[in-house]
C-alpha cells in the first residue's frame, strides 16, 4: 500500500480500496498509521474505523462460530466478522445443524414412521428415546440419531435385531473432528442400512479429545471391523471391545492421527526467490 498523501484532497479510488483491504489484515500498529489519513479524503474510508469499534459484541442471530483452526491463514478477516474479501463485511453465522438441538417434529413422512419405530423398539428393549439419544437430527431428508456414548453397543444391537427396524448392514464408520466443540471434539458417524425395509439411518456418537473412547460395534456388525480401525488410525478414537484395534492405512509406527484438524501438515521447503511454500493450512484461504 502506498502512503496516502495528506496534502491531496482526492485519492485514487483504487488506492482507498487497497487501503481498506490491507487494514483488515494488518496489525493494530499499522492500522493506526492508516487511520491518520485525512478525514475529508474519503468519507467511507474514514468512517470505517469508529464503526468497527462500535460493532455490537454479539451480532443478532445464532451464535457466531468459535474460531476454527482451519480459518487461520495468510489473509482474511478474523475475530468473527467472517469477511472473506476485506471489505465485504459479511457475517458468517453458525448454522451447522450438527451443533444445534434436536429437529422438532413433524419430519418428512417416512422419517416420522422411522422415528416411531425406533421409539417402539427402544421401549420393547426397556428404554426410551431420552435414555438412548442426546438428540435426533433431521436434515436434507436424512435422519441422524446422536446416541449417548455409553448406550451405543446396545442401541446398535436393538437397531439390528428389532423386527420393526432390522438394520442388517452397517455400511461404514467414519470420524469427524470439530476442534471448536469443547467436550465433544470427536464425532463417530455410523451408517446403517435395512434391506428388509429399504431405508437408511445414521448414528452419531461424540467423545472428547481427552477421553477418546467409544464402544465398538464389531460384535453386532462384523463389517465395522476395518472401518473402526480406519477411524482409529485417522482420528485416534479408541473403540473399546474391538478385537484388534491397529492401524490400517498408515504404517504401524506412524506418529499421530492425520485426519485431526490440528495435525501438522508440514510444508515444502522449496525456495523460490527467497520464499518458501507454506503448509496448506497456512496458505491464503477464504474460509
Amino acid at each position: 500500500m502506498s502512503d496516502n498523501d495528506p496534502q491531496s484532497g482526492k485519492q485514487d479510488p483504487e488506492e482507498v480500496e487497497e487501503a481498506s483491504r490491507t487494514r483488515a489484515e494488518t496489525s493494530p500498529v499499522e492500522e493506526q498509521s492508516a487511520a491518520e489519513a485525512p478525514a475529508d479524503a474519503e468519507p467511507e474510508a474514514a468512517a470505517e474505523e469508529p464503526e468497527e469499534e462500535s460493532l455490537p459484541a454479539e451480532p443478532e442471530g445464532p451464535a457466531l462460530p468459535p474460531e476454527h483452526p482451519s480459518r487461520r491463514g495468510m489473509f482474511g478477516a478474523y475475530g468473527g466478522s467472517g469477511d472473506t474479501s476485506g471489505y465485504g463485511r459479511l457475517v458468517v453465522r453458525d448454522a451447522n445443524p450438527v451443533r444445534g438441538g434436536s429437529t422438532p417434529r413433524p419430519w418428512p413422512e417416512q422419517l416420522e414412521a422411522l422415528g416411531d419405530d425406533v421409539s417402539a423398539a427402544l421401549q420393547e428393549a426397556g428404554g426410551t428415546d431420552a435414555d438412548a439419544f442426546d438428540k435426533v437430527l433431521v436434515d436434507r431428508g436424512q435422519i441422524t440419531f446422536f446416541v449417548k456414548r455409553e448406550k451405543l453397543a446396545e442401541v446398535a444391537r436393538t437397531f439390528r435385531d428389532d423386527p420393526l427396524l432390522r438394520f442388517e448392514m452397517c455400511m461404514g464408520v467414519n470420524g469427524v473432528h470439530y476442534p471448536e466443540e469443547i467436550g465433544s471434539e470427536l464425532h463417530v458417524h455410523i451408517q446403517l442400512l435395512s434391506i428388509t425395509h429399504n431405508r437408511r439411518v445414521n448414528l452419531e456418537v461424540t467423545c472428547p479429545e481427552t477421553d477418546p473412547h467409544v464402544p465398538s460395534i464389531v460384535h453386532t456388525y462384523p463389517s465395522a471391523n476395518w472401518h473402526e480401525r480406519e477411524t482409529y488410525d485417522f482420528f485416534g478414537i479408541l473403540f473399546d471391545g474391538h478385537p484388534a484395534l491397529t492401524r490400517i492405512q498408515m504404517p504401524d509406527d506412524w506418529p499421530g492421527h492425520p485426519q485431526r484438524k490440528d495435525y501438522p501438515l508440514g510444508g515444502i521447503p522449496v525456495e523460490y526467490k527467497g520464499a518458501t511454500i507454506a503448509p496448506p493450512d497456512e496458505r491464503r484461504a477464504y474460509n
Binding site: P65, H68, S70, T84, V92, D94, A95, N96, P97, V98, D139, R140, G141, Q142, T144, E168, M169, C170, M171, G172, N174, V176, H177, H189, Q191, L193, I195, N198, R200, N202, Y221, P222, S223, A224, N225, W226, H227, E230, R247, I248, Q249, M250, P251, P258, Q259, P280, D281, R283, A285, Y286, N287
Partner: protein, 453 residues
C-alpha cells in the same frame, strides 16, 4: 528348528542383505524369495516347521495391485488368510479439505481408478444434496451422467474379467477384455478429453456438453460391443477349465455378505437382487428399463456371469440414454455455482473456450471478476452433513460429505466397496488351496486405489 538344518544358501556374501537369503527373527527364520531359488527354499522349509506364513504381495502380479495377502499354509492349503492394505494410501480425503468444492472432483476421480465417474458422481451428489440443488440439475446433465456411469461400469467389469482371466491363465480373455475396454476409454477421451481421471462430473452438472459426433461414436461402440460381448461367454461359460477353477470357489452366502457388509456382484451372486439403482434410485435411474441380474451359486463363477449380464444391461441403459438426449443446458442455471466457462479442446489441449476468453478479457470486467472469484474462492456450501450412496461396479460407494459452511469441505469420507469387501477374504479363502485365493480375490474385484484412497 536349528540353524544347521537350513540348506538355503544366501544369494550374496553379505548376510545382512534384506533382499535375499535367510535371516533369523523372533518369529523364526524368514526367507526372501527372489526367483530361481525355489528348490533351496523348499528344501529349507521341508527341514523345518510345517507351519509356513507366506507374504503374498504387495508386489505380486496376481493380487490386483498392491494388496498384501498374509497366508498361513499347511502344504498347499490355506489355514489362515489376512489382508494388509494401505500401500496406496495417498491422503486424498485430507487433501480435499484444503481445496475448493469443485477442485475436490479432481481428487476423487483418482481414487478408484477403474471407475472414476462413480467416484465423481458420489461426491458431486453429496455436494448437491448439501447445496439443496439436487432437483435443479438439468435433464441433459443427468442423462449424460447416467450414460458415462454405465459406460464406465462396462469398462470396469471388462478389466475385472480380463485380469481375473489372466490370473487363471486365460490370456485371450485378457487381451480381448483390454481391447474392448480401450474402445470405451476412447469414448471417454472423446467426451471428456481424458481416458481416465476425467473430473467430468462437476457440482451442478457436467464440465461440458457432448462434442460433435459423440452420439454417432457411442452408437458405433454399442454395435461393436453387442457383437463382441458374446465372445466372453463363448470362451468361459462352458469351458471345463474355467469352470473347474471358479465353480464353488470363493463361496460366501447371504448371511456372510450381510454380516460383512458386502454389496455389489458378490451380494447379488447369493440371489438377492439388491441394486441401489433400483432400490434407492438417483440421477433418474428409476425411469430406465433394465434388469438386476442375480444368480444363486454364491461363488466366483456366478459373479463372473453376473458381471457379463450387467454389462449387457448397461449397454441397454446407454441406448436409452442416447434416445432421450434432448438439447439443453448441462449445468445448473445458478451462476454462483456453475463455472462460467465452457471448456473447449484447443490446439494445446483442454482449456477455456476462446469465446469465453474474449468475453471476459475484452467485453465485461464484471464477468472477469465473477470468473476469478468463483474459480479461486469457490462457492460456499451450507453447513451440514450427508451420506450419499450409489451403486458402483463393486458395490455401494458412499460419500459422507461434511460442510461447515465454507468454500472447502470440512471432511469428505468415502465408503469404498473395495475397502469393505476385502474384509471377506478370510471367510472366502480359509480352508481352500493357494490357487483358489487368487480366484476368490479376483471375484471380489478390489481396486486398491479406491481401497486405500
Amino acid at each position: 528348528m536349528s540353524q544347521q538344518d537350513v540348506t538355503f544358501t544366501p544369494a550374496g556374501d553379505d548376510t545382512d542383505d534384506p533382499y535375499a537369503g535367510v535371516r533369523e527373527t523372533t518369529e523364526g527364520p524368514v526367507y526372501t524369495v527372489t526367483g530361481q531359488d525355489w528348490d533351496d527354499v523348499v528344501g529349507a522349509a521341508a527341514a523345518g516347521e510345517e507351519r509356513i506364513v507366506v507374504n503374498m504381495g504387495p508386489q505380486h502380479p496376481s493380487t490386483h495391485g498392491v494388496l498384501r495377502l498374509i497366508l498361513e499354509l499347511d502344504g498347499e492349503n490355506v489355514t489362515e488368510a489376512r489382508c494388509g492394505i494401505g500401500y496406496l494410501h495417498t491422503g486424498i480425503e485430507k487433501n480435499m479439505e484444503y481445496r475448493t468444492w469443485t477442485q475436490g472432483v479432481t481428487f476423487v476421480t483418482r481414487m478408484d481408478y477403474l471407475s472414476p465417474f462413480f467416484n465423481e458422481a458420489a461426491y458431486v451428489l453429496g455436494v448437491e444434496k448439501l447445496l439443496g440443488i439436487t432437483d435443479d440439475i438439468p435433464e441433459r446433465a443427468n442423462v449424460i451422467r447416467v450414460m458415462m456411469m454405465e459406460l464406465n461400469r462396462i469398462s470396469s467389469h471388462l478389466v475385472c474379467i480380463a485380469t481375473g482371466g489372466m490370473e487363471m491363465g486365460a490370456l485371450t480373455v485378457m487381451t480381448n477384455g483390454f481391447r474392448e475396454r480401450e474402445r470405451t476409454l476412447d469414448l471417454f477421451e472423446l467426451i471428456t478429453g481424458l481416458r481416465m481421471n476425467s473430473a467430468y462430473i462437476r457440482p451442478g452438472g457436467v464440465a461440458q456438453d457432448l462434442p460433435p459426433g459423440a452420439v454417432e461414436s457411442i452408437r458405433e461402440y454399442l454395435r461393436w460391443m453387442w457383437d463382441h460381448i458374446g465372445s466372453y461367454e463363448a470362451f468361459c461359460n462352458e469351458n471345463p477349465v474355467f469352470k473347474g477353477r471358479t465353480v464353488d470357489v470363493g463361496y460366501l452366502d447371504l448371511a456372510g455378505c450381510m454380516a460383512l457388509g458386502i454389496t455389489g456382484p458378490v451380494l447379488r451372486s447369493t440371489g438377492l437382487p439388491w441394486d441401489l439403482r433400483k432400490s434407492q434410485p438417483y440421477c433418474g435411474y428409476e425411469t430406465y428399463d433394465f434388469e438386476v441380474p442375480t444368480r444363486d451359486s454364491a461363488d466366483s463363477y456366478g459373479r463372473f456371469r453376473i458381471r457379463i449380464d450387467e454389462m449387457k444391461e448397461s449397454l441397454k441403459i446407454v441406448e436409452q440414454c442416447l434416445d432421450r438426449l434432448e438439447p439443453g443446458p448441462v449445468m445448473v442455471g445458478d451462476k454462483k455455482i456453475a463455472w462460467p466457462a465452457q471448456l473447449a479442446i484447443g490446439s494445446d489441449g483442454m482449456g477455456n473456450s476462446l469465446d469465453h476468453i474474449r468475453h471476459i478479457m475484452g467485453e465485461s470486467m464484471e464477468a472477469l471478476i465473477h470468473h476469478f472469484k468463483l474459480v479461486t474462492e469457490g462457492f460456499r456450501v451450507p453447513a451440514g452433513e450427508v451420506y450419499v450412496p450409489i451403486e458402483s461396479p463393486r458395490g455401494e460407494l458412499g460419500a459422507h460429505v461434511v460442510s461447515d459452511g465454507g468454500t472447502r469441505p470440512w471432511r469428505v469420507h468415502f465408503r469404498d466397496p473395495s475397502f469393505n469387501n476385502l474384509q471377506a477374504v478370510p471367510a472366502m479363502c480359509e480352508g481352500s488351496m493357494v490357487a483358489d485365493v487368487i480366484v476368490s480375490v479376483a471375484s471380489l474385484d478390489p481396486v486398491m486405489g479406491g481401497c486405500d484412497r
